[in-house]
């Protein structure tokens, strides 16, 4: 390879600025869109899978007519007698629509520490201080005092702060006065943005549950490999139930993000194809000045190999710079500017979006994959076009 050909390629790009710019802009836009979807999806998937290890081994729901309904606290004893079951926790949680924000909040009953910290790392001892670690402003709630803690983003949306009192009416028109005593740490926004946590009595009142009812049951097993066997045993004891195993929870999330990403890419396909066709056209078609330049080069003694190397460098220089710009724009868009526009498409539909910056989970293989998927085909096409031109007679090339 002659380095002079590199300089010649840069000069050729400079002589056809508009053409190179159109090529680069098309490629940059296509790479940005493609890379941003990959970056955002992988980040959400990693965030979701990171939390997998703290989930219960089994979740038991009652089903009626194909829909989940509340469980009875008596079911807790029925399940606790199964030998492989280490603990059963009746959980009270649900959704409440707030016209003020035109969206649902998730009401969660705070359970006693000793019942809930069953899957946290072994180094953490269940104690009031561990529960308080999740609170950034104010303090954790005290049971029986009609207190709540909520997600920082929800508090910001409602315009409240610790010390404020909230009067929330349930669907039975009964108002409940609750005092906001703390907000969750902002690093938890991805999980708690819409969460209002109160004690079980207040949660039941807000959700319209009777004292003997709970939303579902969370189980910890002495050996999680026995989850399928225990799930079958629960189904036979309780009848119409849905027992969700831990690996199923992870699978649902994994698939959900993949499908969403695929859909966004599918919806963007026409725009992506248009950009690629534009860039392809620029890479394959030779203008009159370019044909003239090639003809002169061939006439003064350039070999076919010289011409191919010069055209290859010209394409690679523009394609590499455009791909680098596209990758950089996509990264900044997703991880610095919060994926404005794309976030709504991939992150569901909410009025209380978590503002926590996403954690990058992209791998070098993915970056290389995107780069080679874009640069490779364009390099091959440009070499093919240059080969056809370089093997023609210079006089024919000038007359074409």
């Amino acid at each position: 390879m002659n380095v002079h050909l590199l300089a010649f390629a840069v000069g050729a790009i400079g002589r056809r600025k508009a053409r190179a710019l159109a090529f680069a802009v098309g490629l940059t836009a296509a790479v940005t869109l493609l890379a941003a979807v990959v970056f955002l999806t992988e980040s959400l998937r990693a965030e979701s899978e990171r939390s997998h290890r703290v989930e219960p081994d089994l979740v038991v729901q009652r089903m009626t007519g194909g829909r989940p309904r509340t469980v009875e606290l008596a079911d807790e004893q029925l399940i606790a007698s199964i030998p492989a079951v280490r603990s059963v926790t009746a959980r009270v949680w649900g959704y409440l629509f707030l016209p003020a924000i035109e969206g649902n909040i998730t009401v969660v009953a705070a359970a006693p520490n000793d019942a809930l910290l069953h899957r946290t790392p072994s180094s953490i001892e269940p104690s009031p201080s561990t529960a308080h670690a999740v609170i950034a402003e104010g303090r954790h709630l005290r049971a029986g005092e009609h207190e709540v803690v909520m997600g920082a983003e929800l508090a910001r949306t409602l315009g409240v702060q610790p010390g404020d009192e909230l009067r929330i009416a349930d669907a039975q028109r009964t108002s409940h006065t609750l005092k906001l005593v703390g907000t969750f740490h902002s690093v938890l926004d991805t999980f708690t943005a819409d969460v209002v946590m109160c004690d079980a009595t207040d949660a039941r009142a807000l959700l319209g549950l009777s004292p003997g009812q709970a939303t579902d049951l969370a189980l910890t097993l002495s050996n999680e490999n026995e989850s399928s066997v225990v799930a079958r045993e629960i189904a036979s004891r309780m009848g119409s139930t849905r027992v969700i195993e831990r690996h199923s929870l992870a699978r649902v999330r994994h698939l959900a993000f993949g499908r969403r990403a695929g859909l966004v890419l599918a919806m963007s396909l026409p725009a992506l194809l248009t950009l690629l066709v534009l860039a392809w056209d620029r890479a394959t078609g030779f203008s009159a000045s370019e044909r003239k330049e090639l003809a002169i080069a061939r006439a003064v003694g350039w070999s076919t190999s010289d011409v191919l190397w010069a055209k290859l460098w010209e394409t690679l220089i523009v394609a590499c710079a455009a791909t680098a710009a596209g990758l950089a724009f996509a990264y900044l868009w997703v991880f610095v500017f919060g994926a404005a526009g794309l976030r709504q498409a991939l992150m569901g539909w909410s009025v209380v979006y978590p503002r926590t910056p996403l954690t990058p989970a992209v791998t070098l293989a993915q970056v290389l994959g995107i780069t080679s998927a874009i640069v490779g085909p364009f390099a091959m096409v440009s070499v093919g076009a240059a080969w056809r031109a370089a093997t023609r007679d210079p006089v024919d090339l000038l007359r074409a």
Binding site: V54, F97, V134, R167, F184, T215, R251, A328, Y353
Partner: protein, 131 residues
């Protein structure tokens, strides 16, 4: 390889180092961007790793580790727990029929109106006004 045509070589001789430098920078740019991204991502992941304990404690108090990204849609807030029993779902992890996977927004205004008819209200008393 044959030498470059003299006209081309002479014309570009003075700018050649600059052009070669520009070409090298352009060809290396994807790798430089990938390296910068890797360094930034590593720092962000280290930050997140330091928050693991807080996250674990918080998640042990929540019903689901699903991300809070679809609060408006009940059947999307905790898909891992609600599929396939949730409304509009035909199978586990099926594509969102409304609205994340579609082009039509959920009728939140209609829901708000419906809720208002039932006198579902939220009132906030600011602490600043308390005696």
């Amino acid at each position: 390889m044959r030498p470059l045509p003299s006209s081309v070589a002479i014309a570009s001789r003075s700018r050649q180092p600059l052009r070669i430098g520009m070409a090298g920078a352009a060809l290396a740019s994807p790798w430089l961007v990938a390296l910068a991204m890797a360094l930034h991502a590593h720092a962000r992941r280290a930050d997140r790793a330091r928050q693991e304990t807080t996250i674990a404690v918080a998640l042990s108090q929540l019903p689901s580790a699903d991300l809070a990204i679809s609060a408006t849609s009940r059947w999307l807030r905790a898909p891992s727990l609600e599929e396939p029993g949730a409304a509009f779902a035909d199978g586990p992890a099926s594509r969102d029929s409304d609205p994340a996977g579609g082009a039509i927004a959920p009728p939140t205004e209609a829901w708000a109106h419906e809720a208002s008819g039932l006198s579902v209200t939220i009132a906030i008393t600011k602490a600043a006004f308390q005696p």
